[in-house]
Assembly symmetry: C2
Homo-oligomer: 288 residues x 2
């Protein structure tokens, strides 16, 4: 039921994804009458409630036990699905995922793959939480490195810290503290990177920041791309740091974008995202 063109775009996207991937099975969650005539490998689980874009997500998700965004995460928790895919509200997905799946780390992060000029990179946190400590930036970096290994097929990805200059002392107190923690970690830390290194790429495979800065930067890049008449800056978002795979698509997703989210979820499941995340987070506990 999520996104501006639901349910039509979601249904069409699901059909597109199963037609392209002979192994993929999609469980649609929502009112069954909206999807009457389905092919093999597409089934429906009924859910009667919806969290609207005009509702305060955290409150609405808690209040609505049978909301689609809660049911998809229950299917993952109960082993009936390998990944949850939702189109629309990141805030609602975050609340439902934490509530239902539980956390791997105190602060989950939204990671996006930015199609930078020099090649794709992972940016996180793109908006899961605004206030942040240096330890949480280290945790974000570990989550992001695991995700880059799986989603971008990299070995030991280069991790950069988003700041306002490339020298070690640059940035606010949070960045200066995080720099020292990252330098002492098991990650391949390449130092500070700057705002233009995210759209242009080439400096780091994983760019780490707090959810406030990450969200402002991502939206600023989207706006600048639109202003320049660019072809859009497509991003796939995944919620890292919860105990299960949860992918969030953009609110104005068309069928192609919905299919892309499903394919992305399938890929990270098949490549063993959850095992890789646990491995990276274990390294941290040993190192600290």
């Amino acid at each position: 039921m999520g996104g501006d063109d639901a349910p039509a775009a979601v249904l069409a996207g699901a059909l597109l994804a199963v037609s392209r991937d002979a192994e993929l099975e999609v469980v649609l969650v929502g009112p069954p009458e909206l999807a009457p005539d389905l092919p093999d490998r597409v089934t429906v689980v009924a859910a009667s409630e919806v969290v609207g874009m005009d509702e305060e997500p955290a409150r609405a998700v808690r209040a609505k036990r049978d909301a689609t965004v809660r049911v998809i995460h229950r299917l993952v928790r109960d082993g009936e699905a390998d990944a949850a895919v939702s189109i629309g509200s990141t805030g609602a997905v975050l609340t439902a995922a934490v509530l239902t799946l539980g956390r791997l780390t105190p602060r989950p992060a939204v990671a996006v793959i930015v199609p930078a000029l020099a090649g794709p990179l992972v940016l996180l946190d793109a908006g899961a939480s605004s206030d942040c400590t240096a330890e949480q930036l280290l945790s974000h970096a570990q989550l992001g490195a695991a995700y880059a290994e799986v989603a971008l097929g990299l070995t030991d990805p280069a991790v950069g810290l988003l700041s306002v200059g490339s020298e070690p002392g640059k940035g606010d107190q949070l960045r200066r503290d995080a720099y020292l923690l990252l330098e002492g970690s098991a990650l391949r830390f390449v130092g500070n990177v700057e705002g233009y290194d995210v759209p242009l790429g080439g400096k780091a495979d994983v760019v780490v920041t707090d959810g406030f800065t990450g969200n402002v930067l991502l939206k600023g890049m989207e706006g600048a791309d639109a202003r320049a008449g660019g072809g859009g800056l497509p991003v796939s978002a995944v919620l890292l740091g919860v105990d299960g795979v949860s992918v969030v698509g953009h609110g104005f997703s068309d069928p192609e974008a919905v299919a892309g989210c499903l394919e992305h979820a399938a890929r990270v499941v098949r490549e063993g995202l959850m095992a890789r995340l646990r491995e990276r987070l274990t390294v941290r506990e040993v190192a600290s």
Copy 2:
């Protein structure tokens, strides 16, 4: 002596500016032998030292009393020039301006004019200081409003607070605190704006943020514009909150860009920037 193409681009830019503006006088500061044959209204003041781009700006500016960036601000302090214009290092300009001119507010801010799709707007702080309080964001807003009145010719400009959602509660603790201060101020506060509202415009004439976020956003927009093959996102920067007009040009400025900086400085001086800044800051003292 500042910028990648100095002194040639600086000299050519000065000649261009005086040829266009019959009232403009330019004082070039640097080694006199570099500018031997000058027309009327272009004079030279000798300065023997230069702060290099590879030096730590704050330290180098303090150590070099006769650096060009210090001499231009002394000319302003002593009433021999109406504005200082420097191409290159914002950090060096900030240190020299504070040292020589003194402060109007505890935290000066770098303000840039962003040529947003819906029309130009003022973004500040674009990088003068990283750590920031809610009171300083209010002060930035007052500086930015005064600058928008003068530089964009607006009456009572609309001020927005950069955050991660348009609702009042959105953002980190700093933004939630600043929201309340801005709401209670004499400014025309229009609430939160988001990252894409800066390149796209239309929501606020002045967008207020801390220097860390502002710098990351500005560079991210520049990079996204370059990635999309855009025509560049030209910005003129001015240092607000010091006791005098100080304009900073981009490090890779060509003659046209240097002339633009000189013309911009002349315009804000003629429109009475300093008086407007004092007026806005007085309103604040009365209001608080």
